[in-house]
Symmetry: C2
DNA sequence: AGCGTAGGGATTGTTGAACAATCCTGCAAG
DNA sequence: CTTGCAGGATTGTTCAACAATCCCTACGCT
């Protein structure tokens, strides 16, 4: 935080600037358009099943059709859009089958990450757990303020940060996509509170187990946690199916 | 094999035709261009590090620049190309770190698929194992003919078919990408024989264990199999690094 | 009335040319 | 040896147009 520069401080500053620069002038138009659309989708403004018209969006986003189509491709890769040949792009409508598929992968990856921590315990500095802790507290704060979508977001980030402990770029990318698809599923649920509330406490329990290095216990808990979460989502989904 | 039509024979024929039709008139230009490039990359014609010039490829592939760029995006999502802003697209150069990352994921997924088979044993008809058997024999035949790249391909297909036993679209997609990236790594190895030969026999052993429904044994074998394969690839890679 | 079918309008797929922005190279100056 | 500045080449993006395909409606037939 000092203005003068010891070596480590200066390098940290340089890294920060480099990150900012990279963020500003990255692929630009196409990715900027993708950012806006990603937000609209994950926040529910564009519900599952909605079609994205090209001419409409070129006007709103102020990009050319070709650039917009590049943005579509980016989001398609993230699972937030699907292409139907000669018909356009749509926000995907996921079903129970997708819930089962997504949770199977989540269980495999997340549980393995926890178990993997045991093998490299000494290497893991305590700071690495800070993001998890922040997410736990953010979820609790959002719950106290009755902001349930924010609880869901904090919950997502908790699991993303959990995966990041494995230091695997590919696991991070896969998880990012899985959680984005999960967000799509949440939007068909009418009662986010019942869906997210139980896991605020369980996230804290999980965090404390990891902090205490009780990895085997944490892995077992997380496994059951994800089974319960899947079951809850499935029932909520079927209720929705009966009503709609 | 008969010309006349019992019901199952006729339906199989219809499915084949439908698949061909779907293959022909799908997204077309962009995907057709991507197909050609994918082949060139996985077969080594475009080595890691190579840059793909837009104007050159528009002439060769006979598509417009915009369409070509859509093909680039598709292949980027498969991990076969990387974008560098304002510099172009390149065939990625993977290193030891990527080997470790890729194999960690392979172990997690493939071993879990095997273990998962135990829980749904009765549902799994014997026909589901035929693709695996074909791949084993294809690898052995290719080895007898000294066609080692073909051995590598059959080996890849074996593992892809293994994952398909889990009936998870997302696992299939992830694996497809992992194996494509692995192919990129093989191209920097000078001696494909030493790399692939040991696993012909081990694939057969694995297949027989699965066929005999000894899933726990199969999972343990596969785990060690992948550890050995990773180690072999790493040493081959380091040798290459010393020579180059 | 019910059903298959042809037309019309709207949307997507693809092209080609053009311009702006950026990178790389080489060279000159300090 | 580093720094700064052209010049040329390549990528990023836009625009306008045309072709191909899909959806919907209206028509004609039985």
């Amino acid at each position: 935080m000092s203005t003068g520069g010891d070596e480590t401080g200066r390098q940290a500053w340089l890294r920060t600037v480099a990150a900012d620069v990279a963020r500003l002038d990255r692929s630009s138009s196409a990715e900027r358009a993708a950012d806006v659309l990603r937000r609209s989708i994950t926040e529910g403004a564009l519900p599952p099943g909605a079609q994205l018209s090209e001419i409409e969006l070129t006007e709103v986003l102020e990009v050319s059709r070709n650039t917009l189509r590049e943005a579509f491709r980016l989001l398609t890769h993230e699972g937030l859009l699907v292409y139907k040949l000669h018909r356009g792009v749509f926000v995907p409508e996921l079903d129970e089958h997708d819930v089962v598929d997504l949770y199977r992968l989540r269980r495999v990856l997340e549980v393995d990450v926890i178990r993997g921590l045991a093998e490299r315990d000494p290497e893991l500095p305590a700071e690495r757990l800070e993001p998890l802790h922040d997410d736990v507290e953010a979820a609790e704060a959002a719950a106290n303020a009755d902001r349930w979508p924010a609880v869901g977001t904090a919950n997502m980030r908790f699991h993303q940060h959990l995966i990041e402990l494995a230091d695997s770029d590919r696991m991070n990318a896969i998880t990012s996509r899985l959680l984005a698809e999960l967000r799509l599923l949440f939007h068909v649920i009418a009662t986010p509170r019942e869906l997210h509330e139980p896991y605020i406490e369980r996230n804290r329990g999980l965090f404390e187990l990891i902090e205490a290095r009780k990895y085997e216990q944490a892995a077992a808990d997380l496994h059951q946690y994800l089974l319960d979460s899947e079951a809850g989502l499935l029932t909520a989904f079927r209720d929705k199916g009966l009503r709609g």
